[in-house]
């Protein structure tokens, strides 16, 4: 458009801006309405789906996990609140809260044995023992989900990965890289020796002993002087399948 001088030109420009703005608002409104409509449809579809597969979600851990994944993808958290549609429909909030309480309970009761670090698999099997047969199966995914909800309590519940294994930590101990590497090394046999740590990780003996002493002090390791080669072994109840399920029965 050729620029025209004078008041008339300015007025035309202002009028054009108004027109554009109106048009823009209209388009935006149409878009929002469309989005709202889509969301409503989506929500009702999701509800429909959840209603239809209610029993599967409750009883089948694999299905439950996939359902959660789907919800996460679209930004819906069925566990965000115990009130409202999801909780009423599925009672799924209660399920995880209950699981959370049981997990805390198990972690506390086995703490004297494992120093507050427990293998996720073991936690799950203890959880299953405790829940017996009722109310369907519990998967590791369910455990992880319940633990992630415990984080809001600020109680230091955390899942850490060591090598291939997942460990659940219920004490505020900070494990540094050295400790993690030792735990990873110990997964092969359940124990390590100072020699082995020095050799396999190429550490000085001071570094190895220091890290092992810390793990001992934290109650995460136990010494064993009974092997006939005379070398002290450091065992880690949190990764040995043998140890920490004892406390649960007593």
């Amino acid at each position: 458009m050729r620029r025209r001088p004078g008041i008339g030109g300015l007025q035309t420009a202002a009028a054009a801006r108004d027109q554009y703005r109106l048009l823009g608002e209209n388009v935006a409104k149409i878009r929002t309405d469309l989005m709202k409509e889509q969301l409503d449809t989506f929500r009702s579809q999701l509800e429909e789906f959840a209603r239809k597969h209610k029993n599967d979600i409750r009883k089948n851990p694999a299905f439950r996990s996939q359902f959660h994944e789907m919800c996460a993808k679209v930004g819906v958290d069925p566990l965000a609140s115990n009130k409202g549609f999801w909780a009423e429909l599925l009672g799924i909030g209660d399920f995880y809260y209950e699981l959370g309480v049981q997990i805390v309970d198990i972690c506390l009761s086995t703490r004297p044995l494992n120093g507050g670090l427990i293998n996720l698999q073991e936690l799950c099997s203890l959880l299953r023992q405790r829940r017996k047969s009722d109310r369907g199966a519990v998967s590791e995914d369910d455990c992880l989900r319940a633990i992630s909800k415990l984080k809001v309590l600020g109680s230091g519940f955390e899942v850490i990965s060591v090598g291939k294994k997942k460990l659940v930590r219920s004490v505020p101990t900070e494990l540094n890289k050295d400790h993690n590497e030792i735990l990873e090394l110990a997964q092969a046999q359940g124990f390590v020796t100072v020699d082995e740590v020095e050799r396999r990780l190429s550490w000085t003996s001071g570094r190895a002993i220091d890290a092992l002493d810390t793990l001992l002090d934290e109650g995460l390791a136990m010494i064993d002087d009974g092997h006939r080669d005379g070398r002290r072994r450091y065992w880690f109840p949190c990764i040995s399948p043998n140890s920490s399920s004892i406390g649960a029965d007593s």
Partner: protein
């Protein structure tokens, strides 16, 4: 699960570090606790009253994992029982230990129950009869250690529930109940 005869061994029995005294206090406390329970449980089910520290004792070694308790370990666990009144050293050198899976007081109550069950309220029985008579068969008194039995009877005597009288030999020591 590993077994000793009919006795089910706990899982920690197969975990080697439990056979070494732990240096860290909290870990050691839990270790001692588990061993105390195991020793009492085992003695109760197997009717064992005396543990000799230098003798073979099935709980003190586990051939499956090739571990056995050191002398310090044995003494530490038994001492823990002693300090709780669940065991007593029988000599100064701590070589023999009397295990009280029932305290003396509880044994005394068991004797009183036995008296009631068999209508012996005003009768005379020999001490040997209490340990091995037909009435005691199937009760916990059957085969009870002589030392423990004597201690329980003395306690009851102090309370005026019975009178002990000595015979010419240990076999004909007897008691007269007056419950």
């Amino acid at each position: 699960m590993q077994k000793l005869g009919e006795f089910k061994l706990p899982q920690f029995f197969n975990y080697p570090p439990y056979f070494t005294l732990q240096p860290v206090k909290e870990t050691r406390e839990k270790q001692v606790q588990l061993w105390k329970e195991l020793i009492l449980d085992y003695c109760r089910t197997q009717k064992i009253f005396i543990i000799g520290l230098e003798e073979e004792f099935p709980l003190f070694s586990n051939p499956v994992i090739e571990r056995s308790l050191s002398h310090e370990g044995r003494e530490a666990f038994l001492s823990a029982l002693v300090s709780e009144g669940r065991a007593e050293w029988m000599d100064k050198g701590h070589r023999k230990c009397l295990i009280l899976w029932h305290r003396i007081q509880d044994w005394a109550d068991i004797i009183l129950q036995y008296v009631k069950d068999n209508g012996l309220e005003d009768s005379v029985v020999t001490i040997e009869e209490i340990r091995s008579g037909t009435e005691s068969q199937g009760t916990e008194l059957y085969g009870i250690d002589r030392t423990i039995l004597n201690r329980a009877l003395k306690l009851l005597e102090q309370k005026g529930k019975l009178v002990i009288f000595k015979g010419t030999s240990a076999d004909d020591e007897g008691v007269k109940f007056s419950v």
